[in-house]
Amino acid sequence: MLRIRLFCTISIFLSVLYSSRAQDWEGLAVEYERAVYSGASLEETNAALLGKAGCYKALGRYSEASSTLARVRMFALTAEERQNVLFEQELCWFLGGDFGQAASLVEEVDAISQDALLLHALVLAYAGRYDESEIYAARCISWDGTCGRLGELLKLYEGHPRVRKEGTALALSFVPPLGHFYNEAWGEGLLSMGLNGAAAGFLVANLLGGYWVTGLLGGAVALNYTFMGNQERNAFLVHKNNGNGPLEFGERLRALLADILSDEL
């Protein structure tokens, strides 16, 4: 009964959309908020909030859509409706680029549809949780029982980017090119090795030549710059790789899934 009422209330609001200014999502969002403000029943309030979130979603304002969905009174919904709201919330966090928030909802949204599986797979991939993502992605493409391109998917996951540790990079950077090599910055590693070698050579040559002041002030300071700079650079490269790796992998995964799912259709 509750669902029917909710359904009807949403319909009323939708009819507002189609009967008044079509596509005026911002105006419609205000009208939904007015329904909340005017002390409507719980069901109507929830329906209005869902409608408002839909408007924001249509406008591409995903974080506002998520915030609006967070205002939905979950206790007044059936289990199925709650699942739908949570799915939308996870989707909006994902679309808004907040993968951490989206991943926090994965456990709460039941993977009972292909779309939910797809969303979980993408959210977890972008959040860097590749093993969990792989399971959802495999289930997603095997949804109708066939899994012709599963091997292709598994191969993609085998090459997922590894999470690099800053501590390891810093430890390796005590031997100048190794930290860079750990970050797969081959050219920069060689440059860093050259700079450190040049600074050390300048220091030693001047000390051997009796130029103590030049050696210590020039060479040692230059070596300090090249050595410490090499460490700082490696810390940054770890941050950069860990930030961009999941994004690049996510793009590849989306391209593959889009291809597989379009084949299915």
Binding site: C8, S11, S15, S192, T214, R233, F236, A258
Partner: protein, 460 residues
């Protein structure tokens, strides 16, 4: 709504939901996340030499301390400051762009380093903010406030500094024009510049006043703006006020001001509009045009008027006007006492304390490299300048003694030492100039704060 209509609408919803499922999948697979990538700032339009310098520089410092980075600084610096000025500014920047040099820098670091271009060395502009000591007792200085905000050039960053005015009190709402009764203004009143539409279609906005305030108070400001920007409301003082209030809450100060100024004297919203528009005008850098309106005002908020007049006098740098306005300070009103005392403190600090001398800083730097910067409160920069200039000097001296003055081993470090030494003197001079400019900015910021924030309490 009748049942057949509901059924029809439900069918419509079903169609919409099935369409939406397809749309969700498409969104999931096509959303663009490229903006989330961690990028390195390496502009495309740089020369090969600058690119090489940047690549090497990153290996030396790990990341950029400043943006634009030092390897891209020389060219624009020479363009803006001339050859000598650009060279000296660049040498000063080289000395500052290090861990020691930025150790005591309180300016927040952006994704590509501290934002600072060659214009920081122009005497009329101070962009090296946040350098003041904590002893000033002033709110933190923020980029874009004070001297950089002048009439006609609203700075988005300035707009972002405004404090939310808070929740209007029910007592204020009690003064509202009754939605049932016509507003004080007539429909023939001309609309403001920037008014979306002011069609004469009939609905009084008073009906939606509480809803609009609810939206603003619940951080749904864009919704509030959407509501009051509709063209279906009858033109009225309430509408002008609500539009102004919505824009003000969205930090759209120029538009807010145009609406607040349109509220007529007979309106219940006049006083609130008057004082808020004065604060907004001051934030926009217009310190003169609110004067006439404030001086004409003779209502129950005369002490608040005097506070704003005194603040505007300080911003304009008029000592006499400040003294005249401050005679109205009572120091007894809870809402205004703190602002009154702070304005007097700022007056004393500005006009009765001696400013630091840039020439003294330059002289100090000439004697001991870096001393001028330390005098300006930049200890890290001073130490960095001392170490670099001193090391280069020592290297030059060693080669001079061992190889003679005409040997290239002496000439090269000698030239570098000369450039960095003069750059250090120039940097010391500029640091104190910037310190003084920053101090004035901080004082202006404090004045703006104190003519604005008490409004929240007064109109609660």
């Amino acid at each position: 709504m009748k049942r057949p209509v509901l059924i029809a609408a439900s069918l419509l919803l079903l169609a919409a939901v099935s369409l939406r499922a397809q749309e969700n999948r498409s969104l999931m697979l096509r959303q663009d996340f490229s903006k989330l990538r961690v990028e390195e700032h390496f502009p495309d339009s740089i020369s090969a030499a600058e690119r090489i310098a940047g690549t090497i520089g990153r290996q030396l410092t790990g990341h950029n301390f400043y943006n634009p980075p030092t390897y891209l600084f020389l060219r624009p610096a020479v363009r803006q400051l001339g050859f000598a000025g650009g060279l000296l500014a660049t040498s000063d920047r080289v000395m500052r762009a290090s861990k020691i040099g930025t150790a005591d820098n309180k300016v927040p670091r952006g994704p590509f380093g501290i934002e600072e271009g060659p214009e920081a060395y122009l005497p009329t502009v101070a962009s090296r903010f946040g350098s003041l000591g904590s002893g000033t007792g002033l709110p933190p200085v923020r980029k874009g406030q004070g001297r950089q905000s002048r009439p006609g050039t609203p700075d988005p960053s300035t707009q972002g500094q405004l404090t939310n005015p808070g929740t209007p009190d029910p007592s204020t709402q009690g003064q509202l024009t009754n939605p049932e009764t016509p507003d004080t203004s007539t429909q023939s009143q001309p609309s403001n510049p920037g008014t979306p539409e002011s069609a004469a279609c009939g609905k009084p906005v008073g009906d939606d006043y509480d809803f609009a305030i609810y939206l603003i108070d619940n951080d749904l400001k864009l919704d509030a703006l959407q509501l009051v920007s509709r063209s279906c409301y009858r033109q009225s003082d309430t509408l002008d006020f609500l539009r102004g209030w919505a824009h003000y809450n969205l930090k759209q100060l120029e538009t807010a001001n145009s609406y607040l100024l349109a509220v007529p004297q007979q309106s219940a919203f006049y006083e609130k509009s008057l004082f808020y528009s004065t604060a907004v005008s001051a934030h926009l850098g217009d310190y003169s045009s609110p004067l006439g309106r404030l001086q004409e005002y003779n209502g129950p908020y005369t002490e608040l008027r005097d506070v704003q007049l005194a603040g505007l006098a300080l911003l304009r740098g008029e000592k006499g006007a400040f003294k005249a306005a401050s005679e109205g300070f009572g120091y007894s009103d809870f809402a205004l006492e703190s602002a009154e005392r702070t304005l007097c403190d700022i007056y004393n600090e500005r006009y009765e304390k001696r400013a630091k001398s840039p020439l003294l800083a330059a002289a100090a730097s000439a004697v001991i490299p870096g001393a001028g910067k330390i005098y300006a409160g930049k200890i890290g920069e001073g130490v960095s300048a001392f170490l670099i200039t001193g090391a280069l000097g020592a290297i030059t001296a060693e080669h001079w003694v061992k190889d003679g003055a005409s040997n290239w081993k002496t000439i090269i470090p000698g030239l570098l030492t000369t450039v960095f030494y003069i750059g250090n003197i120039y940097g010391g001079y500029m640091s104190v100039s910037i310190y003084n400019s920053n101090l004035k900015n901080a004082q202006d910021t404090a004045v703006l704060y104190n003519i604005h924030i008490p409004l929240r309490t007064v109109f609660k």
